[in-house]
Symmetry: C2
């Protein structure tokens, strides 16, 4: 099979775009060249011939020589318009824009179906880790038991510094910003919004679930206190921000993005600093772990390049779980075992808990360990306020009430303690 | 793009073959069916319609309806004849036969080129871990700094039991055999032959090196003693059988399969029991780690299925490092830091060492730490005898003599000690 020559129209020339440009120059074997680059400010001096640049997107989109669009800009709405236009003219697109994909996935799916044109975005989740491709190659929805992942490098960097170097949250955050691992407005990372974007479309590839972002229960790490870190260490745990999804025995899928205790000998605890990691459990391949840099210009460029390379043999996502299988369905009908620390009992809706197994208190902060129905978490926000922090235990999901033996009885004790 | 219907001719109906048969029945979406299965004994009762089976390979190879051959038999020479015949009739082949591939790679490459037909074998190395596909997608030879891996599940199982549960080697081996992780003749695993087969063709995908098996320096774990395990624990290490390859600053590649000390907080130490793991370091993607089951019927079947799935869009290995880049070249011109334990100094060619940094001795066993030129290891076999065991240190490869400051001087001291 002879590969076709790829003539690329590139949108964006930031660190990833420029990196891509350089690497393509050095790899003639890829048989791919950049013909035009569309940027906001065409006058700005850049490390590439001025003739390459334009600020008119139509000069790229309407160039008939161009047979592949690579979209690497920040603005997610502008990016969507570019992708839409390219797919409508039957030109495949490679993108790294997670917010755009999360916001527009239904339309993007429709466009891919209507045009039969490939849209690849491996770089949009976990950068260098080929997680989407790997999930796509899983042939049968039923076989994927669970997928759990660290998908935000900034928060993982901060948690690593808090646990391994005993830095306070604020200092760790500052260090992350200085090293370029967090945005100058870090809330998108810290409060879980970035992870939410990524997880929403990863659930489509994993389980065929088309999830609206406001349906997913999520939090970041902004509420974790020094007290929580101390408790974790005492229990032999560290804390990670985990994006989790698990197929329950009724066939429905439990999913969330929440801080979780992680045992010291767990694979997740080997994910340090700005790295990402994904643990997939399935019937056939059993447990698999993928680990690598989840952000940064070069890791992202490497994922963009592997998508470009795949387009040479017309690779496309099949969304098998969505189109060829019984479509997955999210559920909130299960229980979770949680640790909650709090400034005062008045912030804790004790009656919401099925059981409270234990609690401790000192002058500054109290904490409890209890079991709560997930729907009650989903429909409340007491655990998202500054006075409270909530962390899942490992092996967090409890499917049946039969396991929850103690139940309401212990609530009275908790009431006594309060 | 409409996928073609895959009509499979299967060779072998062992655990992997039968698993494949079952899964294909359950996944009509894959649009792949098994038309014929060739086995040795057609009369044997099996969990599939008798009409499917034949003991005449030509009934499969000459069936014009069949457009894909899956080869899952033990006999590597018979397997090669099947693959050869299939490729010559322009039918793509999926195989899991590592020995066949290692023994016949040059001919298999020629066949692929001459016929333009795809030959995929992801299952032949690390089973469920997509290591070959991942290496193939690395676009530029120059970017791959190193690849280090645990690629034999049996030896890793034994080492895990020795270190985590303090079992003696022989008991750990017996347990591995009872659980089906080692052959009844375990020498192929224990002495490193299985790893040698896998590593020889992985080096082709990683660096474009076509290596003859007798050019690779290798050993297994059969010589590791209880004394060595104690020393490792004392130093804060465990021991893993590591297949390693590293591009040196002169562009040549250092490669081997040898036992190596591994720090407790190293990623390799998270690879337990029968699991495999691969650490890739490159300029762009930086450090990546792939972890999963490296053997067993289901993990192997899952890799075979992902190859079958890839053939629907005509995926083929490009062997880019071999055909499109400056071909890699093995070198033995570097130094390694080694730990050697021995029953008596008479087994140790002291003059071969550049330096011996330290040594210890008790009634049963002595050990030393020293630096030796790799070519001197390659051209000798004192370290492969029962009286000696040799283990690499982490960060084992030393490129230049400048680093080796002490040199011969300390040899005299060693001589004194002996």
């Amino acid at each position: 099979m002879k590969h076709k020559k790829l003539v690329i129209g590139l949108f964006g020339f930031g660190v990833v775009g420029e990196g891509l440009y350089k690497v393509l120059l050095q790899t003639p074997s890829l048989n791919a060249t950049i013909r035009k680059v569309c940027i906001k400010d065409a006058a700005k001096k850049r490390n590439a011939p001025a003739s390459l640049f334009t600020d008119d997107k139509n000069e790229v989109l309407q160039d008939e020589e161009i047979n592949l669009i690579v979209e690497l800009i920040d603005d997610s709405e502008a990016a969507f318009q570019i992708v839409k236009s390219a797919l409508e003219s039957h030109r495949p697109v490679v993108s790294a824009n997670k917010k755009m994909i999360a916001d527009h996935l239904p339309e993007l799916l429709e466009l891919q179906q209507a045009t039969g044109t490939s849209f690849l975005y491996e770089a949009a989740c976990c950068a260098s880790i080929p997680v989407i491709r790997n999930l796509e190659e899983y042939y049968d929805n039923d076989l994927l038991h669970s997928i759990n992942a660290v998908i935000n490098g900034s928060t993982n960097f901060i948690l690593t510094k808090m646990f391994d170097e005993n830095l306070p949250f604020k200092e760790a955050l500052l260090l992350a910003q200085q090293l370029g691992f967090a945005e100058s407005d870090p809330r998108l990372d810290i409060e879980g919004w970035d992870a939410l974007n990524k997880w929403s479309f990863l659930l489509t590839h994993a389980y065929g679930i088309l999830v609206k972002k406001n349906e997913l229960v999520f939090n970041g790490i902004q509420l974790i206190t020094h007290h929580d870190a101390q408790v974790a260490v005492h229990l032999g745990y560290s804390i990670k921000l985990i994006a989790g999804a698990k197929k329950l025995s009724n066939g429905k899928v439990a999913a969330y993005i929440l801080p979780r205790f992680v045992k010291n000998d767990d694979l997740f605890n080997s994910i340090k600093n700005e790295y990402n990691g994904v643990v997939v459990e399935s019937s056939f391949a059993d447990k698999q772990f993928f680990y690598g840099k989840g952000a940064g210009s070069f890791p992202t460029a490497s994922a963009v390049l592997s998508d470009i390379s795949a387009l040479r043999y017309n690779y496309k996502y099949e969304y098998k779980k969505l189109y060829h299988h019984q479509v997955g369905e999210l559920t909130q009908d299960f229980y979770v075992k949680v640790y909650v620390s709090f400034a005062d009992w008045k912030y804790i809706p004790k009656d919401d808990f099925e059981s409270i197994e234990e609690w401790h208190s000192n002058d500054q902060r109290s904490d409890l360990t209890g079991i709560i129905h997930f729907e009650k978490l989903a429909n409340s926000d007491w655990w998202k306020t500054n006075e409270v922090s909530l962390i899942l235990y490992p092996d967090d999901i409890i499917e049946s009430m039969d396991v929850v033996k103690v139940k309401k009885r212990s609530l009275e004790l908790a009431g006594f303690a309060g």
